[in-house]
């Protein structure tokens, strides 16, 4: 097959795209054709490292594949395409096809516009590092490499998605991460059969061992320091091209109570903050239900003075306490959804106006009681003590309100026990979801709700399998 036929077939495979450039480089000894996507190729480097050297070569010698490889200056890898279909896929991915009469070579001179490294919105830090991942995989890997300067850092690349052909990288520290977990993650990533992967959450759905669980079983972070910390603990991470979110496995519930900034503060402060987070999350889920149960059935529970105030504030409300609470909670959900979806310049106005107008007017009109609005506000604030689980917790509180409305405190306690049993059986890649509390893993309690201090954590977490347990001391060899 000669060059012209190859170019013709390749052009057909690539279809009618305005950005596909077919450029002939002619010399005294022959012609070479370059085919590439104009919008994602660095044209300066293309001219300097590819066009000029090829032009010079074509003036002196005929274009064999060996000669082309010798003359090109680019540091990028040059490979020979096995067939034109492969060449078309690579060109669509940003490669340059160098077509001669003797074959097709491929090299990469990609230049994609991307966001600069900045502080991630989901993980702001007061004292810790402020850099966050971006949508550019290579930039993310470089950030990670800067934290973990060890040859033990392994980055396995896989391509997922028939059309998007997204790069998915499995990261782990060799000699620390457990091979069985790595194998399981690899099998799941390789086994993903999907047309496109647009974000890490696509991969996360496939990685979860209990996909129907209402709780997430995959950790997420946007910060390289947190990811490095997780890898040092023996976890496996997944980076996805086009996503600033890194996934981590195995994932334990206690990780939601931890924060990247924790490890840069004093030990007692960390413990205090974690207790507050746990309390906030518990309050968020339980308080509306307790309010309903107390109003409907167990009002004796409330202190006398408080009960009188409560009765004064709720007398004349046309709705039952359960309906009243459900109304306020659903309004809160609507406001929350609106504030997330609205354009930024009206979002603030909507949320403030919504809160004031809806809440205040409804209370003044006697449709809703101010205690119900207050309870919802407290619960709403509590939800964001653990922002990653806010969605799950907000659903749970609705369920608990319904249970408490029908069965009071008894049903609520039963509901809590059912939830505990549900979570107690959950596992994430061999790690009990509620570890280190259920089952109790004594060593890991040092980084549970109570934080013992970095210097006390001599061993890596025992709650999930890994190698090289010792973190501090002479036994900690690579």
């Amino acid at each position: 097959m000669d060059r012209k036929t190859r170019v013709e077939i390749l052009s057909q495979l690539l279809g009618k795209c305005f950005d596909i450039e077919v450029r002939d480089i002619e010399g005294e000894k022959g012609t070479i054709t370059l085919v590439y996507a104009d919008v994602i190729v660095d044209k300066d480097i293309l001219a300097r490292d590819l066009v000029t050297p090829l032009q010079d070569m074509l003036d002196t010698t005929s274009p064999t594949l060996e000669k082309v490889v010798e003359s090109i200056l680019t540091p990028a890898r040059i490979t020979e395409a096995h067939d034109l279909k492969e060449a078309s896929v690579k060109v669509a991915d940003g490669s340059i096809a160098i077509i001669t009469d003797s074959g097709v070579l491929l090299t990469v001179l990609k230049k994609v516009a991307h966001r600069p490294v900045g502080e991630p919105p989901t993980g702001t830090s007061v004292k810790g590092p402020r850099e966050g991942f971006t949508e550019e995989l290579r930039a993310n890997v470089s950030l990670l490499r800067r934290k973990l300067k060890t040859p033990m850092l392994t980055l396995e690349k896989h391509v997922v998605g028939k059309y998007t052909r997204t790069d998915v990288v499995i990261c782990y520290l060799r000699g620390i991460a457990d091979e069985e977990i790595i194998g399981k993650v690899r099998d799941k990533v390789v086994g993903i059969d999907i047309d496109g992967v647009l974000d890490a959450s696509y991969i996360s759905h496939y990685l979860e061992e209990e996909p129907n669980s209402i709780f997430r079983h995959t950790g997420t972070t946007e910060k390289p320091d947190i990811l490095a910390g997780k890898l040092l603990e023996g976890r496996v991470a997944i980076l996805v091209d086009g996503s600033p979110i890194a996934l981590t496995l195995p994932f334990l519930f206690i990780e939601d109570m931890q924060d990247g900034d924790d490890y840069y503060k004093k030990d007692y402060r960390i413990t205090f903050e974690r207790i507050i987070r746990l309390m906030g999350a518990t309050m968020a889920v339980i308080i509306p239900a307790i309010y309903v149960a107390l109003q409907e059935f167990q009002y004796q529970f409330v202190p006398l003075k408080f009960l009188i105030t409560l009765l004064n504030a709720t007398s004349g409300i046309p709705l039952t306490p359960t309906l009243e609470m459900l109304t306020v909670l659903l309004l809160f959900e609507v406001l929350n959804e609106t504030s997330v979806r609205m354009p930024k310049y009206v979002g603030m106005a909507i949320s403030v106006v919504g809160a004031i107008v809806l809440g205040d007017t409804a209370v003044n009109a006697g449709l809703l009681g101010s205690p119900a609005v207050l309870v919802t506000a407290i619960s709403g604030i509590g939800l964001y003590c653990v922002p990653d689980d806010a969605g799950t917790f907000s659903l749970l509180r609705l369920v608990y309100v319904c249970i408490a409305g029908v069965t009071g405190i008894f049903g609520l306690v039963l509901g809590v026990m059912v939830l505990l049993a549900y979570l107690a059986k959950s596992n994430s890649y061999g790690a009990p979801y509620l570890a280190p509390y259920a089952p109790i893993v004594r060593e890991d309690l040092k980084d549970g709700v109570f934080f013992a201090g970095l210097d006390k954590m001599k061993f890596r977490p025992k709650s999930f399998p890994h190698h090289n347990r010792v973190r501090i001391g002479e036994e900690n060899d690579e």
Partner: protein, 351 residues
């Protein structure tokens, strides 16, 4: 499978469940000021049964020491016994929860919910029950702290004197009902061969639970001697001592909530072991059908058979000998079988 630490914590949480509701008032009616001694005897005998039961469990459990046919027969007998027992004990729970938490009679709702929730918890398996027990220990500890710190009762400890003035009858008076309250039998179905840690923690937790129950009885009789035998719920009475209605609310509810949690755990513990026992000789589906049927049976028993606590207790008192067979004779027989099996195994390997 559950490990020894989980068993220890589970027993600590569930042992007082049924023993602190109505049993003390019954003991007070038959042993008066020596009711705490009677409780001590009941508990002492129960601890004694733990020795053979743990021995069976550490040798692989009933499944591994018995031929399949015998195992099936014993498992079926145990399942029937636990159904009867849960039906009897839950009469008390349902009556009490309905009375204390609701204005109107909600017994059917309470027993239905209790069995439904426990059925789900049990369906998660024995291991999950162990893990839930590890989490339930925190509110249990909170209950003890609240009881000690906020207690405003004025017990007169001279009320327990003279001790043992009626001789041995003071000690044995409550045994005919007390024998029903054995909690360890399901553990015979466990295989603890994989857990090589010491069993001491189980004994320690059982002793701690016993001490708590006996202390509760002492405080109860010292506070309410004159009306002790007519009190329908000891926990309610004692937790009333920590009421601070106008200041921080009724703290007795903390006790009631923890007690309800422990009750759910107890019922789930029994159902989970029924599921395990059945599953050992059949499959998951059959096991789930059996525990669902038991749950329905208990709801029916509580709604139509034993509608009052005294009815349930009357049946229990007439069937005291069945309780002795199940809680005392059966574990000892199984221990002998386990020891003989061990000897046979040793002889075979020597040959």
């Amino acid at each position: 499978m559950m490990n020894k630490r989980q068993i220890a914590l589970l027993l600590l949480v569930i042992m007082p469940v049924y023993k602190v509701s109505t049993l003390p008032s019954y003991l007070a009616s038959v042993a008066e000021n020596d009711m705490w001694l009677s409780m001590l005897v009941v508990q002492g005998l129960e601890i004694f049964t733990l020795i053979p039961i743990l021995l069976v469990a550490t040798r692989g459990g009933l499944k591994n020491i018995l031929p399949k046919f015998v195992y099936v027969v014993i498992a079926c007998i145990c399942v029937l016994w636990w159904t009867l027992r849960l039906g009897m004990l839950n009469t008390d729970v349902v009556h009490y929860v309905s009375k204390i938490l609701f204005e109107h009679d909600k017994r059917l709702l309470i027993i239905s919910l209790l069995m439904l929730g426990s059925l789900y918890v049990a369906s998660r398996g024995v291991r999950s029950i162990g893990r839930v027990a590890e989490l339930t220990i925190y509110p249990f500890a909170l209950l003890v702290v609240v009881f000690v710190i906020f207690n405003k009762g004025q017990p007169d400890f001279s009320e327990i004197l003279p001790i043992c003035d009626r001789g041995v009858s003071s000690l044995t008076a409550g045994l005919n009902l007390g024998v029903w309250f054995g909690d360890f039998l399901p553990l015979m179905f466990l295989d603890l061969r994989g857990d090589e840690s010491s069993s001491a923690k189980i004994y320690i937790s059982v002793i701690v639970a016993t001490v708590l129950e006996v202390l509760l009885c002492i405080v109860f009789i010292a506070t309410y001697k004159s009306v002790a035998s007519s009190t329908d719920s000891v926990l309610s009475r004692l937790m009333n001592q920590v009421i601070l209605s106008s200041e921080v609310g009724r703290l007795d509810y903390v006790g009631i909530i923890v007690w309800i949690m422990a009750t759910i755990l107890y019922v789930s513990y029994i159902l989970a072991f029924v599921k395990k026992a059945v599953q050992d000789f059949s499959n998951y589906k059959v096991a789930m059908i059996v525990i669902s049927a038991i749950s329905v049976a208990i709801v029916i028993i509580n709604e139509y058979v034993w509608t009052a606590v005294h009815q349930a207790y009357a049946t229990a008192l007439s069937l005291w000998w069945v309780a002795i067979v199940m809680h005392y004779i059966l574990p000892i027989c199984m221990m002998i079988v386990a020891l003989r099996r061990k000897n046979e195994y040793t002889l075979k390997t020597q040959v």
